[in-house]
């Protein structure tokens, strides 16, 4: 042993058998552990392993070494003669020698590094916890912010559409509605951003007619363009305009890009939306005559909280729209690009998506277009938020439906017995006495065919999925989009005919 070639090497050297018997150990390791060589040589590895280290050795270190023939950079804590634990970084390799397998290790003591690792570990944990807390906070915050928006939005919509009110009042109600919608959109963007960051955004894909989607988007953005005197023109030149995607999400992309064009284009300007087919793809180009983008800012505009070289906030918004759009397009295996000849020379955004064959003519419309069928329905509405319930009742009654309102599950079940039968249930998911899921289960046990629409402040994809799994026909996120609610009720009316 005295001629051990690496006796005084600046690291520990150790050889052991598969049984864990130490057959060679250098002076450095003996010194570091505080043992005489005689006390270690011929002894068992167990002697220098802590109890936790023994388990780690048996469950990880040895199996890996045996299967891979070598391991690198493994952290092991060894136990010195005085009982203190000394952290080491270990590399090991198996060698066939003397007619058996021997395992050679080098061990580097890591005192300082170990402290840093501890700090890194606790910093990592703290960051992960803070991130989790942030997500929970965002979800809770958006829920809290959405809830009071719901009655504002519905009430203003109802007033705007009420022919009995003076034009001026209706116009003002329109402004309230518009701003409430903007607020809702900001909250949605925050939620989407957080979902994308955590890969929680899921797509519900169907055959989507992009031209039809653009028509619908045009309706939404037209009013913004008109109020700003920016002309929005559509040229639908593509022959193949069907894609396999999530209609609502793709619409969100177009809405973002067109809205952006309007936002950054001065009065009297123009936003042109042109579709074409290039190499089996559908390309939608949105070109504006706006303020343009400086070349150095181009690479950054798809990053969150960026608005080119402009200080965030100077044009309003959170700077999330394009970041979300890019993520959505990417999830559809498509591309989104921006181009500009420079400041003051406008910008072009293009979205490219793979096309698919159009659906057979006999199949149902691809996106739920507002159906014209309308029939008075008997509705059971369960919502504990007083103003939301009252506004919904008002709007639904104005649409010609008979509505019974309940503030909790117990009242809903009572109404079902005393005031039924109903054609559909509309229920909030977070009720004071039980969840909407439980309520529907109870109702479906006696009325299995009752169509049900879920309302909730959370728009997380898991909620949507859970609602579907629980038997809800559809799930609407507050503030309740009345168009969608009406379309759903029309569908229920039509299918009940």
């Amino acid at each position: 042993m005295n001629d051990f070639p690496l006796d005084d090497a600046p690291c520990g050297v150790l050889t052991f058998t598969d049984d864990g018997h130490i057959i060679a150990v250098n002076a450095t390791l003996c010194r570091l552990l505080g043992y005489d060589r005689d006390a270690l040589s011929g002894g068992h590895l167990q002697k220098i392993l802590s109890p936790g280290g023994r388990v780690f050795y048996q469950t990880h270190f040895f199996p890996l070494l045996k299967l891979q023939e070598e391991v690198e950079e493994v952290y092991m804590s060894l136990r010195g003669q005085s009982g203190d634990e000394i952290p080491f970084l270990v590399n090991a390799r198996r060698q066939e020698r003397n007619g058996r397998s021997e395992n050679d290790c080098i061990l580097v003591r890591m005192r300082q590094r170990s402290h840093f690792e501890n700090e890194l570990l606790s910093a990592k944990k703290a960051a992960e916890n803070a991130n989790k807390a942030k997500d929970q906070f965002l979800a809770a915050l958006s829920h809290e912010l959405r809830t009071p928006l719901s009655p504002v939005l519905m009430m203003s919509t109802a007033m705007e559409l009420d022919p009995a009110l003076p034009d001026e009042v209706r116009e003002q109600a329109g402004i309230i509605r518009h701003n409430a919608e903007l607020e809702a959109r900001l909250i949605d963007d925050l939620l989407d951003h957080s979902r994308i960051r955590h890969s929680k955004l899921t797509l519900v894909r169907t055959t989507v007619d992009v031209h039809e989607l653009l028509t619908q988007t045009a309706e939404i953005v037209r009013s913004e363009g008109t109020s700003k005197r920016v002309n929005i023109l559509f040229e639908k030149n593509a022959r193949d305009h069907f894609v396999f995607g999530d209609a609502a999400r793709i619409q969100q992309v177009f809405w973002n890009v067109i809205k952006n064009g309007v936002k950054f284009t001065p009065s009297g300007g123009e936003v042109r939306v042109v579709t074409s087919n290039v190499d089996g793809e559908l390309v939608v180009r949105v070109t504006d005559t706006g303020i343009g983008i400086a070349s150095e800012a181009l690479p950054k505009i798809f990053q969150a909280f960026e608005q080119g070289s402009l200080p965030t906030g100077s044009f309003g918004g959170l700077g999330l729209g394009l970041a979300i759009s890019r993520a959505i397009v990417k999830m559809h295996e498509g591309r989104i690009e921006a181009a500009s000849e420079g400041p003051g020379r406008g910008a072009t955004f293009s979205v490219a998506l793979k096309t698919i064959a159009p659906p057979a003519p006999s199949s149902a419309p691809t996106t739920p277009v507002l159906a014209i069928t309308s029939r008075a329905l008997r509705l059971l509405l369960v919502e504990d938020h007083d103003s939301t319930r009252e506004v919904l009742i008002r709007i639904l009654r104005r649409a010609g439906h008979q509505v019974h309102g309940a503030v909790n599950g117990a009242e809903a079940l009572e109404l079902l017995r005393t005031a039924g039968p109903f054609d559909a249930l509309i229920s909030d998911l977070g009720l004071p006495d039980r969840s909407g899921f439980d309520l529907l289960r109870e109702i479906h046990s006696t009325h299995p065919a009752l169509p049900a629409i879920a309302l909730s402040g959370y728009g997380m994809d898991e909620d949507v999925k859970r609602a579907k799994d629980a038997g809800f026909t559809a799930h609407l996120v507050k503030p309740v989009p009345f168009d969608q609610l009406r379309a759903l009720l029309d569908q229920i009316a039509a299918s009940a005919l």
């Binding site: 598969d18 802590s50 936790g52 048996q58 990880h60 891979q68 690198e72 950079e73 493994v74 952290y75």
Partner: protein, 277 residues
């Protein structure tokens, strides 16, 4: 999407026999750890290998922290695999924690199993009053700490080294893809489910004949634990191995295979051993 147990647990079936032999790996690894033992049974049995959810090439998206918080969740996986493949008369071979998983499964559906082969079993790792498990709670925390530091990325655990084994390139490929590539969170939970478990009361309920292979000098399942198993498991054949350590199927495959074959041979000549004792 819910995957079938077969896909979820990356079930691999080999061998030419009819009687199924189901190999369940221990904590820290995956089914590749059976490589030195399982092939020896392929001529006579239908060898079924699998990975627990969160290990190896299992469907990690199927990991449910609640289900796998205790060993019962892992036992459910075993039974679901058996049901899906319609395995009967199963010889269950479990290493370490899987011994307890096998016992739980066999207590749930005793009629499905013909034998349990338990390698390095322990019904409880932590000392408790007169019971010697070999560990204190703080020791297990030391393990968790070591795991955590290694899983953080300093160790090359997650990126296995390409094995210098040109004559068997398929092994290299297999290793690259799977071995020990474990999610730190899942590994931690599996460690807690394993080392904080107490399955002592499940032992007397076992009705299926068993073989216990106890290593000499096993740091994880010390001799006292082996003796405890022997005392509380009815109709068991208890063998102390020459092999040392906790992974005889990796360090001493020949002895492991020999003892398993001896036991199975004795079982076939003597179909109903003294289980009623």
């Amino acid at each position: 999407m819910i995957s079938s147990p077969q896909a979820r647990n990356n079930v691999v079936i080999r061998g030419h026999g009819t009687q199924p032999m189901l190999f369940a790996h221990g904590f820290g690894c995956d089914q590749t750890m059976w490589r030195f033992v399982a092939p020896a049974f392929e001529n006579d049995y239908r060898v079924v290998l699998f990975d627990y959810v969160g290990s190896g090439k299992s469907d990690w998206s199927a990991y449910d922290p609640q289900r796998y918080a205790t060993l019962d969740g892992y036992a459910r996986d075993v039974l679901e695999i058996c049901r899906e493949l319609d395995l009967r008369d199963v010889i269950f071979v479990g290493h370490s924690v899987s011994s307890m998983v096998g016992i739980l499964a066999a207590n749930e559906e005793p009629e499905r199993f013909s034998d349990l082969i338990l390698i390095g079993p322990s019904p409880r790792y932590i000392n408790d009053a007169d019971y010697v498990g070999g560990f204190e709670r703080a020791d297990i925390e030391g393990l968790l700490d070591t795991m955590e530091r290694n899983y953080l990325g300093w160790a090359s655990f997650l990126t296995p080294i390409i094995m210098k084994n040109p004559e068997r390139p398929e092994l290299t490929k297999e290793l690259e893809a799977s071995f020990c590539s474990t999610d730190p969170e899942i590994a931690r939970r599996f460690a807690e489910a394993t080392f904080y478990a107490d399955n002592r009361t499940d032992l007397p309920k076992v009705r299926v004949p068993s073989l216990v292979l106890q290593c000499s000098e096993d740091a994880i399942a010390p001799p006292e634990v082996g003796e405890y198993m022997h005392r509380h498991l009815r109709g068991t054949t208890f063998r102390v191995m020459e092999a040392t350590g906790h992974c005889p199927h990796m360090s001493h495959p020949e002895e492991t295979i020999r003892l398993m074959k001896d036991y199975l041979a004795s079982r076939s000549t003597e179909p109903s051993p003294a289980v009623s004792a």
